[in-house]
């Protein structure tokens, strides 16, 4: 066990800069499998989204090639690997292009909600007072409300329900953002309230540092611990909300972009007549994308929670020598030079 991991030690400083590297290293067994599977699926999803123009045999709104129309509801064949939809689009192409819409929506919505949520949480938590109380009550009210309904209302407000690619993605993203802001707000506010009373913040106050600088330098940097986890969980939720909006007809027009939820809505009547390929593939795309992101998020969550971390972690590292048992896996990954030299010296 120790011998295997020894060669990678010197390079750790470099390798640990890769996101998730430390987490993969400190995980074991099933947990590692889930994390790695999640990372692989998520990477594949991102790659498909970026390379959609290259991978897709046709455009997402293409109805004919070389003068011939595709035909509606064609079963999978050599010319259309996954068949065609009721609107006469190529299913495979729309599934691949759909990844792009999904990824853009995730990025825009998560970025927007992070910025707004963090800003509100920091200000509310640091300043306190009536503003804090009002924001907490409002965010709690919004948090308890069915997110999909809120997103529907928002998308009516923003786009009147239908729109083109840029407008549609923005509308969907902002709709989703409104749902997420309370979550970031809660987390960041709670952390801010805790950090506010720390000694280093008080000493910064004593030497006359202004509030904005304290908030940015001292509070913000320490309040973002749990963000990566929230971020992954929200990404998958954003995808599901986008699909839900699309399924209810609030998606993006098929001529503007491919959207999985919209395609499933159109496939609703196909299923009754036994046409499976128009529903199965966009649906599987949603499931896979959400699964990948959720696996990453879940594994991060479990690794951060000592109650759920794999039990064998202690047994494995404890086997070679007794004093190694005192060093938990998580601490080893933190890059403490003392622990490093100890382990280097042992073999």
């Amino acid at each position: 066990m120790t011998r295997l991991s020894t060669p990678s030690r010197p390079r750790r400083s470099l390798a640990s800069r890769i996101p998730l590297f430390d987490q993969v290293r400190s995980s074991i067994g099933l947990q590692r499998g889930m994390l790695v599977a999640g990372v692989v699926i998520t990477l594949a999803f991102v790659l498909v989204a970026i390379l959609a123009p290259v991978l897709a045999p046709f455009g997402f709104s293409q109805l004919r090639s070389s003068g011939e129309t595709f035909g509606a509801q064609q079963p999978p064949s050599s010319s259309h690997l996954l068949g065609t939809t009721v609107g006469g689009y190529d299913v495979l192409s729309r599934v691949l292009w759909g990844a792009q819409t999904a990824l853009l929506t995730i990025i825009v919505s998560v970025l927007l909600s992070i910025f707004v949520g963090i800003a509100l949480g920091l200000i509310s938590g640091y300043l306190g007072g009536w503003l804090d109380r009002v924001l907490v009550v409002v965010c709690d009210a919004v948090y308890a409300f069915p997110s999909l309904l809120l997103a529907i209302v928002m998308s009516i407000v923003i786009s009147g329900g239908k729109s083109d690619l840029a407008g549609g993605i923005l509308a969907a993203s902002i709709s989703i953002t409104v749902v997420f802001i309370p979550q970031y707000f809660r987390v960041i506010r709670a952390e801010t309230v805790r950090i506010k009373s720390e000694a280093y913040v008080e000493s910064a106050k004593v030497i006359g540092t202004r509030a904005p600088r304290i908030i940015v330098r001292h509070v913000l940097r320490n309040a973002t611990r749990s963000l990566p986890l929230l971020l992954t969980l929200n990404s998958s939720e954003a995808l599901l909300t986008l699909a839900g909006l699309g399924f209810l007809g609030f998606g993006i027009e098929p001529s503007a972009a491919a959207e999985w939820g919209y395609d499933l809505n159109k496939a609703l009547s196909d299923v009754t007549s036994g046409i499976w390929w128009t529903a199965l593939f966009p649906g599987l795309a949603i499931v896979l994308a959400v699964l990948g992101i959720t696996l990453v998020g879940e594994s991060l969550n479990d690794l951060a929670d000592p109650r759920l971390r794999g039990r064998r972690a202690a047994v494995d590292s404890g086997a070679p020598s007794a004093d190694d048992d005192a060093v938990p896996h998580g601490a080893g990954a933190s890059g403490d030079p003392l622990i490093d030299s100890n382990e280097e010296a042992r073999p």
């Binding site: 409002v138 009210a141 209302v153 009516i156 839900g244 499931v287």
Partner: protein, 365 residues
């Protein structure tokens, strides 16, 4: 210190305050219930205001619904008649006043009171949520116990992936797949709807019909009708229930693993109680308490999921109706239904919190 020196009043006022506080802490539960109940009002108020402001910021609902169909003059007349050309604040206070008297406005497309829409279709949604919760309990809790029992072994791995799949599969996709397999290919269950026409006709003529088909079906006393209603409920119930089942499974597993490590379970284990019995008898009861609190949040998720499930299965409930109104751009109806759902969510959260407080004294503050 300084306050005491400056004015003698606070010091003399202090003892009664302290006395009152210690007296009221005796009635902890009652005080908690009252505070919690009063918290509903700002929640509803905020949500209704939010929905009003958002919906009205797009313009007046009549233009949205009838924009292309009427001439400009007719449109202006109808807007004036409905009072949508008055200052927005006046409309807002009128709306809030109406909401507090239980009037959520009339729909534009078919001119019915929103409360009537709720009464007609709310039962169906309630019924669907009920079936979904049954599925969630029956699937989620035992499987969560199994996962905790086989912690880090193959069954646990399988069940955890199952739980994540439950979450990752959109309810409408799960619905479509179930429909495809069981209705279209195997022909064992109906494709859509809440009951077949014959059964619906029998239930329509009932004197005391409730709109909740399960109750109505038992009222007819006809086993065919009961079977028909139940067979229609299976697929939508599973599609929506699996979503919550995944949440329950994970929650039970996590909490059970937590309680299995506590001292009293260790004590029981050292007395020779079998591991199976530990899970079954000792550890699982305290692990169920968090589920009750989580149900509160699940109600919101279920209502959101119900909109999608009802659309998938043409289940004529509130969510299906909401989707219809959305499609016909009847934003008064949408605003009314959403505001009503906000009230329902707030009230169910209150009820759930009360139950949690009754079961677990630590919740009361």
């Amino acid at each position: 210190m300084t306050a005491e020196l400056a004015t003698p009043d606070p010091a003399s006022a202090a003892p009664p305050v302290a006395a009152r506080r210690s007296a009221s802490s005796g009635g902890g539960l009652l005080r908690y219930l009252i505070v919690r109940f009063l918290l509903i009002i700002p929640t509803i108020f905020i949500l209704v205001t939010l929905v009003f402001v958002l919906m009205r910021s797009t313009g007046d609902p009549i233009t949205a619904a009838q924009g292309g169909k009427l001439t400009a003059v007719e449109l202006a007349k109808r807007i004036h008649d409905a009072g949508y050309d008055r200052p927005i604040l006046v409309q807002y206070f009128e709306y809030i006043g109406q909401v507090f008297t239980g009037n959520f406005g009339n729909t534009i497309t078919d001119n019915r009171p929103v409360t009537e829409v709720l009464l007609t279709y709310g039962g169906a949604t309630l019924e669907l949520a009920f079936y979904a919760l049954i599925v969630a309990f029956v699937v989620g809790i035992p499987l969560g116990m199994v996962a905790a029992y086989f912690r880090d072994k193959a069954p646990d791995a399988f069940l955890r992936i199952f739980a994540i799949l439950c979450y990752a599969t959109p309810v409408f996709f799960a619905g479509l797949l179930l429909k495809l397999v069981f209705s279209v290919w195997l022909h064992v269950l109906p494709v859509a709807g809440r009951a077949s026409t014959g059964a619906e006709l029998q239930m329509q003529v009932l004197p005391g019909k409730t709109g909740i088909y399960l109750i109505d079906a038992f009222q007819t006393g006809n086993p065919d009708v009961i079977g028909d209603v139940l067979s229609h409920a299976v697929l939508p119930g599973i599609a929506l229930g699996l979503l919550t089942a995944g949440v329950f499974l994970r929650l039970v597993r996590t909490n059970l693993i937590g309680t299995l490590g506590t001292d009293y379970v260790d004590a029981a284990r050292s007395r020779g109680v079998s591991e199976f019995r530990l899970v079954r008898k000792h550890a699982y009861r305290p692990a169920l308490i968090p589920i009750i609190t989580v149900i509160g949040l699940q109600i919101a998720l279920l209502l959101g999921g119900a909109v999608l499930t009802e659309t998938t299965f043409e289940w004529k409930g509130l969510g299906f109706q909401l989707a219809q109104y959305l499609a016909s751009r009847d934003f008064v109806a949408v605003q009314g239904i959403v505001a009503l759902l906000a009230v329902i969510v707030a009230v169910t959260n209150f009820i759930v919190d009360v139950i949690a407080a009754l079961i677990d004294p630590r919740v009361r503050y």
